[in-house]
C-alpha cells in the first residue's frame, strides 16, 4: 500500500495535467461521484459538521489499527474535495493521520477552499478527522 506521502504526490500529479480551474473543478465533480456512500444512519445531526452554507457528514470507524472514514456533503465540489481527503487519510493508523501535513491541497490550487472564511465546512472537517484519530489513538493506541 502506498504511503500517505505517495498518495498526496499521486493526486498532485493527477491535477498537474489540468490547464485551468474548469478542468480541475470538473475532475472534482467526477470524484464526488466516486465517493462511497455513507451509511444513511450517519447522515444525522450527530455526525454533521456545520459549515455556514453546505453540510458535511463524517463518520470514523476503527478497524484493525486503522481509522476508516466515510463522509458526504450536499454540495458537489465540497464532496469532491472530501473524496480526496478520504483517499489520503482513510485506512491509516491514528499516528499517521495525526502527523500528516496535507500539503496536496495547496499544491493542486484548492487552498482557498480551506480558508477560515470559506463556508463549506472543510477546515472543520479536517480538524474533526484528526480528532477522531486522536480519540482512537487514546482508546486503542500503544502510547
Amino acid at each position: 500500500m502506498s504511503t500517505i506521502k505517495e498518495v498526496q504526490e499521486d493526486i498532485i500529479n493527477e491535477f498537474e495535467v489540468f490547464e485551468d480551474w474548469m478542468d480541475r473543478y470538473n475532475y472534482l465533480i467526477e470524484l464526488s461521484n466516486d465517493l462511497p456512500q455513507i451509511d444513511t444512519k450517519f447522515k444525522t445531526n450527530e455526525y454533521i459538521i456545520k459549515g455556514c452554507q453546505s453540510k458535511v457528514w463524517l463518520n470514523a470507524d476503527y478497524d484493525d489499527g486503522k481509522v476508516v472514514y466515510t463522509a458526504d456533503s450536499d454540495a458537489i465540489i465540497t464532496k469532491g474535495i472530501i473524496s480526496l481527503l478520504i483517499r489520503v487519510l482513510s485506512n491509516r493508523s491514528p499516528k499517521e493521520i495525526k502527523e500528516t501535513d496535507l500539503h496536496f491541497i495547496d499544491a493542486i490550487g484548492l487552498r482557498e477552499n480551506l480558508s477560515p472564511t470559506r463556508a463549506n465546512g472543510l477546515l472543520a472537517m479536517i480538524k474533526q478527522m484528526k480528532l477522531y484519530a486522536i480519540a482512537y489513538d487514546v482508546k486503542f493506541g500503544n502510547n
Partner: protein, 405 residues
C-alpha cells in the same frame, strides 16, 4: 438618464480582473462600491484635516465639526427630515435598530407588550427586538408574506392589539427585492396610535425617501450600502420620541454635566452620540449622498427598473432557474436556485468566472424557512451594472448547468 460608462469610471474597483476575468460585481445588496469622490474625501481628511469634533477650539477641530454638522444637514435634506437634530449618526442599520430597540424598549415596553415585525426581516431587525422581549418579557408577532414575496398587509389589523407598542418593518427585502407598502403600514399603525420604524438599508440607495410624507416615526440605514464608507450609518426619529427616549450609550459628548451623584444629558442629537463618533465616515457618507443626488435618485430608480425587467426576462429565458419572489413592486435583486445545484457550488463557479454574488441565507433565515431551502444565490444590482453583465450572469448559469447537470 445618465451615461453608464462614465458612471462606471467613477468606481475604480469595477475595473479589475478577478480570476483572469473582468469583475462582474453583483453583490450590491451586501455592500456597494465607492465612487472616487468618497475615497478622496476619506484620504484628504486623514492626510490633511483630521481632528476630533466638538472638542477643540483650534482650527482643525472647528473645521471638522462644521463639516460633520454639514453632513448631518445633507442626510437630513436627503430624507427630508423636519429637523436636522432628528438625524443621529450610528455605526449602520444594525447599530440604529439596536439603539431603537434598547432605548424605545427601556421607556415604553413592559411585560406582556407586543412588537410586530414582518416575516421578511433581516436578522438586524429581528434579534435586537428578541433580546428586548427576553429582557422585558414582551412578545414578538410576525406579519407573514405570500410565495410571491408580498407582505399580507391586510392581516396587520388582526395582529394589532391594545398591547402593540411598535411596528418595525423592512422597506425593501434584501433577499426578494420586494418594495413593501410602508406608507400603508405606517397609516395602519398610526390609526391605532402605534409608531412605525422602517429599515431602509436596501431602499435608501434605490428609491427617493421622504420621512415627512411617509410620516414614519423611525428610520434606519447604512452608509456602506449607500456608496459611502463602512462603519457609519444613520438613524432618524421624530423629535417627540427622541426627546422622551433615554440615551442608549453613555460617554463623552452625550452629556451636559457630569458628577458622581448625577449626570444630565446633552440635547438632541448629541444625547444619542456617545464618544468620538465616526465623523470622517459621516462626512464621506454625505459625499456619497451628494454623488447619487448628482445622478438623481429618480434616474437611478428608472434605470434599475430597466435592469430588473431585463434581468427577470433573461433569467426566465435561460431555463432551469427558480427565482424566489415575484412581487409586483421590486428592485433588481434576484435570489435563485439553479435547479438541482447547491448554491455554494454555483457561487464557486461564478467566482472563477469573475462574477461576485452572495450565497447562503442572506441574514434572513425566516425567508429560507418560508421557502423550505437552506440557501439561495443572490445577484443584487446597482445603477453601475449593465445589461451585458446580466447576459454574462446567464452565461455563468449555463456554465454551471453544463458542469453539474
Amino acid at each position: 438618464m445618465f451615461d453608464i460608462q462614465k458612471v462606471r469610471e467613477d468606481f475604480p474597483v469595477l475595473r479589475q480582473i478577478i480570476n483572469k476575468k473582468p469583475l462582474v460585481y453583483l453583490d450590491n445588496g451586501a455592500t456597494t462600491q465607492k465612487p472616487r469622490c468618497v475615497t478622496d474625501v476619506i484620504t484628504d481628511y486623514y492626510l490633511r484635516k483630521n481632528s476630533s469634533i466638538h472638542r477643540g477650539v483650534h482650527f482643525l477641530s472647528s473645521q471638522a465639526t462644521v463639516e460633520y454638522e454639514k453632513a448631518r444637514e445633507t442626510v437630513s435634506q436627503f430624507i427630508n427630515a423636519k429637523n436636522k437634530h432628528e438625524v443621529i449618526f450610528t455605526s449602520g442599520t444594525t447599530g440604529s435598530l439596536n439603539m431603537l430597540a434598547f432605548s424605545f424598549g427601556e421607556k415604553y415596553i413592559k411585560e406582556g407588550d407586543e412588537i410586530i415585525l414582518s416575516e421578511m426581516e433581516h436578522h438586524a431587525n429581528i434579534v435586537p427586538w428578541q433580546l428586548l422581549c427576553e429582557r422585558k418579557k414582551a412578545k414578538l408577532k410576525v406579519l407573514p408574506f405570500n410565495d410571491d414575496g408580498e407582505l399580507l398587509v391586510d392581516q396587520l389589523e388582526y395582529l394589532i392589539t391594545e398591547k402593540t407598542k411598535i411596528i418595525s418593518v423592512i422597506h425593501i427585502s434584501n433577499v426578494l427585492g420586494t418594495i413593501n407598502p410602508i406608507k400603508k403600514i405606517i397609516e395602519i399603525g398610526h390609526s391605532h396610535g402605534i409608531p412605525v420604524c422602517i429599515d431602509t438599508a436596501q431602499s435608501i440607495q434605490h428609491v427617493p425617501i421622504d420621512v415627512q410624507k411617509l410620516d414614519c416615526d423611525f428610520l434606519a440605514f447604512s452608509g456602506h450600502k449607500l456608496y459611502g464608507p463602512t462603519g457609519i450609518g444613520g438613524f432618524y426619529g421624530k423629535e417627540k420620541w427622541l426627546e422622551e427616549m433615554p440615551p442608549y450609550q453613555g460617554g463623552g459628548d452625550m452629556v451636559d454635566e457630569v458628577s458622581f451623584e448625577k449626570t444630565t444629558f446633552n440635547q438632541l442629537p448629541f444625547k444619542f452620540e456617545a464618544g468620538t463618533t465616526n465623523y470622517i465616515g459621516a462626512i464621506a457618507m454625505a459625499e456619497g449622498i451628494n454623488y447619487i443626488q448628482g445622478i438623481g435618485l429618480s434616474n437611478i430608480a428608472d434605470y434599475e427598473h430597466e435592469l430588473l425587467e431585463y434581468g427577470a426576462a433573461k433569467l426566465k429565458e435561460v431555463g432551469g432557474v427558480k427565482i424566489f419572489g415575484n412581487a409586483f413592486a421590486r428592485t433588481p435583486i434576484f435570489s435563485f436556485h439553479i435547479e438541482n445545484v447547491h448554491p455554494l457550488d454555483t457561487g464557486m463557479i461564478f467566482d472563477k468566472m469573475g462574477i461576485a454574488v452572495r450565497t447562503g441565507t442572506h441574514c434572513a433565515q425566516p425567508i429560507m424557512q418560508h421557502y423550505g431551502v437552506d440557501g439561495m444565490v443572490r445577484a443584487s444590482l446597482s445603477f453601475y451594472n449593465t445589461k451585458e453583465e446580466i447576459d454574462y450572469l446567464c452565461t455563468g448559469i449555463e456554465q454551471v448547468k453544463r458542469m453539474f447537470l
